[in-house]
Symmetry: C2
Subunit: 662 residues, 2 copies
């Protein structure tokens, strides 16, 4: 048995090879969290999961701190112990390596199939990795292999009742231990889903190609990292940077063109049914409308304007057949050159839009020209889209049938990232494969969807996102990486357009989401007129950053409430967002995250005394007070509500005394 302990000794991994089978186990403070669990791959060319013997091992310690291009923190410490194990199959002589990295906050491991005689082009037909959890736990999950990809409400069930689920899978034991099972650095492999095989044991379930196999590869092959993050409480999952640490360093030499920011767009009006993506009287992407949004963004200091429906291909059933999309041909209503020129004139970035209708073949044919056009016009960000039922991605052979999260699409998404980078374009991918931290390597991979976003509030027949939705997202989807949720709807009821739908939050909760749900490209999703009607609330959206130096989590209870505080990158201001589910909350928040030696002005946007998402969602108050690191703020969140706070170091002329708050 081989043992590797995390740097401070909190976590141990044990690796054993017995009766030809390799197993690992994970213990915390000496007590098993994951019981001995199988390792191994099955190839079409033969199994690499049985008949194994240990053929040597290496150890390595790492402790380095690296700088992010953007993100939730400016630096990340990567401190781990590594154990690389060589396994040999006695009968065939074939080699398989498993590399473990053990951090204090979790474990990652991956498979490597070295170059070796008799194994060049190969196919992986199954991965045997198990996660045999020692005890049952509450699990927050969305099902895999469903029509709408990742766009489902998270459900809570006992781990012991799961079926097949996506990752990140979030677990909380009776005892308060929180775990997240996910993967890191998925770049040329099938995505891993998890299937429960018995009791509380999960097994890796690789998403297949339409043709049935799981992974096609040429040796040497390196799998993504299988990851298990572990923390005492859900907040520790949010502040863990294990997934990023297991990705490769940045490949781009010049990242000066990569700029987080906020954007508005011709988008929500289509979701409300006020305008359309396709041609006609109500076509949203007209030159005039685009200029209006650009001027609005310029007036309010927002960075970008997204225009959807700007190109040819939207008329007809594009989500069933996306082959009509032309990524360089604007709709006649839309003078792309004129709009791009105006964007440059007013100093706002035009954000391109490439909806593919999941016809990847059609997109790949045009992709290079499309990004070249962006580059020529000064378009430095593109939102891509892959609307289409799963598994109906149109592959290179013209036929539908690939999954959004099979190897075929993983490769495609990766090609897009690289092509975009060549043309200095940042990406916001909708209907993506899940995030596994490749933003570290390709920091133009800014944000993505891959969850049920705000637009469901506009039209979903199930009543939209319930108030608890945004209290679950930071602990589930949010652990994968940035999420383009599109917060900031101010007209919560849109009774004119869709009287039967609404946003199920207070208006203050919409502000808090800018801090709670991290995205380096953050949308102000509502219509310009909704914002101009409420300038005192819009001020928060105008000013809130999208790039941070530090992130802390003062309150965390999955599905109930969460408070996140972040310090702006390169500055001293702190921003706080706190949100609750359908229940009101009174939460004490010591401001110990502030610099101990300074005083701050706290500007507080909070739910009014009678606010309630259902009955009085607009009721709010704005207050300013002087505080310091010793102040305790009482956050009173209305049912379905939230609170948003900006903390700015006080000027020397501000002689008020900080209030203790207790």
């Amino acid at each position: 048995m081989l043992l590797v302990s995390s740097p401070d000794g909190t976590l141990d991994v044990r690796l054993s090879v017995e009766s030809g089978e390799a197993r690992y186990a994970v213990a915390r403070f000496g007590r098993d969290v994951i019981a001995p669990s199988r390792l191994g791959l099955v190839l079409r060319e033969g199994s690499l999961a049985s008949g194994l013997v240990l053929d040597g091992h290496e150890r390595r310690s790492a402790d380095e701190t690296w700088t992010t291009v953007w993100g939730e923190s400016d630096t990340v410490r990567d401190r781990h112990e590594e154990l690389a194990v060589a396994l040999r199959q006695e009968a065939s002589g074939r080699l398989l390596r498993v590399v473990f990295r053990v951090f204090d906050d979790g474990v990652g491991f991956r498979y490597e199939i070295p170059e070796q005689g008799g194994l060049t082009d190969l196919e992986i037909t199954d991965e045997r990795t198990q996660f045999a959890f020692v005890e049952d736990a509450a699990a927050w999950w969305i099902g895999a292999y469903q029509k709408n990809r990742y766009e489902y409400l998270y459900r809570r069930s006992p781990l012991s009742e799961l079926g097949v689920v996506h990752t990140p899978l979030t677990l909380e034991t009776e005892d308060g231990l929180c775990l997240s099972v996910h993967e890191a650095a998925l770049t040329d492999f099938a995505a891993m889903t998890l299937v429960r095989t018995e009791g509380t044991t999960l097994k890796a379930d690789l998403v297949p190609w339409a043709a049935g196999t799981k992974v096609k590869a040429r040796a040497p092959v390196t799998s993504p990292w299988r990851t298990v993050q572990v923390a005492d409480g859900p907040g520790g999952l949010i502040t863990s940077r294990l997934i990023l640490n297991l990705n490769e360093p940045c490949r781009l030499e010049d990242t000066s063109w990569i700029r987080p920011g906020k954007y508005v767009g011709i988008w929500w009006e289509m979701h409300l049914g006020k305008s359309t993506w396709g041609s006609g009287e109500r076509h949203g992407a007209t030159t005039a409308n685009a200029l209006r949004y650009l001027d609005f963004a310029a007036r309010h200091g927002l960075d970008g304007v997204l225009v959807e429906g700007w190109n040819l291909g939207w008329d007809g059933d594009w989500y069933r057949d996306g082959s009509g999309f032309d990524f360089t041909a604007p709709h006649p209503d839309f003078d792309l050159e004129e709009v791009a020129r105006h964007a440059r004139d007013v100093g706002v970035s035009l954000i391109g839009h490439h909806e593919t209708g999941a016809d990847v073949a059609n997109y790949e044919r045009q992709m290079e020209d499309a990004f070249a056009l962006c580059e020529r016009l000064g378009i430095h960000a593109v939102k891509t889209g892959y609307v289409g039922n799963d598994p109906e991605v149109v592959g290179p052979d013209g036929g539908p049938g690939e999954w959004h999260h099979g190897q075929f699409m993983v490769r495609h998404y990766r090609r897009v990232v690289e092509e975009a980078a060549r043309h200095r374009v940042m990406l916001d991918v909708h209907e993506p494969v899940k995030d596994t931290g490749i933003r570290r390597t390709w920091p133009n991979m800014m944000t993505r969807e891959g969850a049920r976003g705000q637009e469901y509030n506009a039209w979903s027949p199930d009543g939209g996102n319930p108030p608890e939705h945004e209290t679950i997202l930071p602990f589930t989807r949010g652990l994968a990486g940035p999420f383009d949720f599109t917060p900031g709807i101010f007209d919560l009821l849109f009774e004119e357009q869709r009287p039967e739908n609404r946003v199920n939050t207070t208006i203050v909760k919409q502000l808090a989401l800018y801090v709670v749900l991290y995205s380096p490209l953050q949308m102000a999703a509502d219509l310009p007129e909704s914002y101009e009607a409420r300038p005192e609330l819009f001020r928060f959206v105008e000013d809130v950053p999208t790039d941070w130096s530090e992130t802390v989590v003062p309150h965390a209870r999955i599905g109930d409430y969460v408070t996140i505080a972040r310090r702006v990158r390169g500055g001293d201001d702190w921003w706080v967002g706190s949100v609750t589910d359908e229940n009101g909350r009174v939460l004490e928040m010591p401001l110990g995250f502030l610099d101990g030696g300074r005083r701050y002005v706290a500007r507080i946007w909070r739910d009014g005394p009678d606010a309630d998402w259902n009955e009085r969602p607009y009721d709010h108050e704005i207050e300013e007070r002087l505080v310091d690191a010793g102040t305790v703020l009482t956050l009173r969140l209305a049912p379905g509500g939230g609170q948003a706070i900006r903390l700015t170091p006080a000027g020397a002329d501000d002689v008020r005394r900080p209030e203790g708050g207790r």
Copy 2:
């Protein structure tokens, strides 16, 4: 229907009288927590629970801040809205008042039977109060009507499966709402237990007299306050002062003689079987032994020395028949005058001991003389005891049969408090009735037992207190008031005396308990030689205060872990205790409770890297570092372990820079 809202609107109480029955309901943020629940009393003279009509009501607002003589905080804000309702029984014309006080952190209500014709001497045979909780919850409880009074391990079950339980009863809903049901100001009434009548509905169940009735009274009668505290998270229950606010102000004019402090005693050696309470070779309470303890206390700055077994009556089955106890006659081995003189000489307080064997009649006969003797000898604190199976209290008629928590004993305990106060004696009551906050009114009522304390580790055949015990106590027994748990055992294994028993914690956890489990009289429970063997750890016990200005709860998870930070009364030092159950924990603690403008030296006693309650309980480290309110400390608690910290403002000459810790 009458409505009364808490000052900030978080809680509402609705009062209705329909079909002759009075009901109240409690809502939080507009959502019911307690559904309409019956109110009313049943008298032998007739029911006051049905046939009622509303006969008027009064409202009153209060907002005052009062100063504690000692406690967890120096001042307490009492801010509530009061609604007093007059009910009249139509048939009999009898009157019953119900007074509600609605705070932001909970609700209290009590019954008043005014003086009225035809009702002078009366008997209450039942209380109809219900608590109809709207949803099920996890409940932490001990059963009522058990042999060993309150001395049981707390159990966790669904509220919907409870039987008859003691209060405080602690509940936590699926959604994280925490509640404590208890009573305040129990001074001449039967204690209230709770019986589940159906589903999630509890009913007040008054502890009877041996003769069967519940309460004997003469109008006007005022019941104790029935209380429900409500908080988002268990920490808010600990910082709530609702129980104290519902007690009467201090009755003592001069409180200068009331002094919190720490004590050692001739006590643990008897529990270990090293010496005996009764006569013989191993008699513990000898003059020489008492002088040894006094000298030890003087040397280490401890305030008091308790001597148990000093008087006559210990030989024989005193716990079956306590009538032999003489509270003024020392055992021949024990020169009381000499010991008391030496105590005065070395400046240490002798603490008296009155074990009654639950023979209350015998004690009441001698009580006045006993306290007069204390006063003459300069003994300002007495530990009383009522060992005896429930219900075997010997009452005035000489026969056993009263419950420790029936009205008979409530009256007795109260008489002792008053008699002690007359002689300037502070009380530490073992085998008490539960605490309901009367320490506000009688601040010589310092601390009490009423739970399963440290001594069970010495001899309990069930293996002693499990590691989770002390992570439950602050959220259950601790909500009632101070608890003389007797922490600080340093010789955890006492293999010589009792090899089959042990203390199930690390040694550092024993330190942390001084902060976590509040008591104004706090014992250093182990033998002097155990402390002198470990001076670097004993230093914490020597220095930790027992009286506080502020209390905050950085981490709270019932039965899993808890961290409490307290600022010393009238000073600037903060003290932190953190304890965990059988699982190791890594907890982030921002020091935002510190004064924002200062730097502090943190002296940290923590579990060593390999510590474990079971295998390496003595492994520990002591560290000093400079911190400020902006520092985040990472508390690494071993399985069954803890951490203890003292934070002292740094001197002007301390030029080290505070470490951020993140």
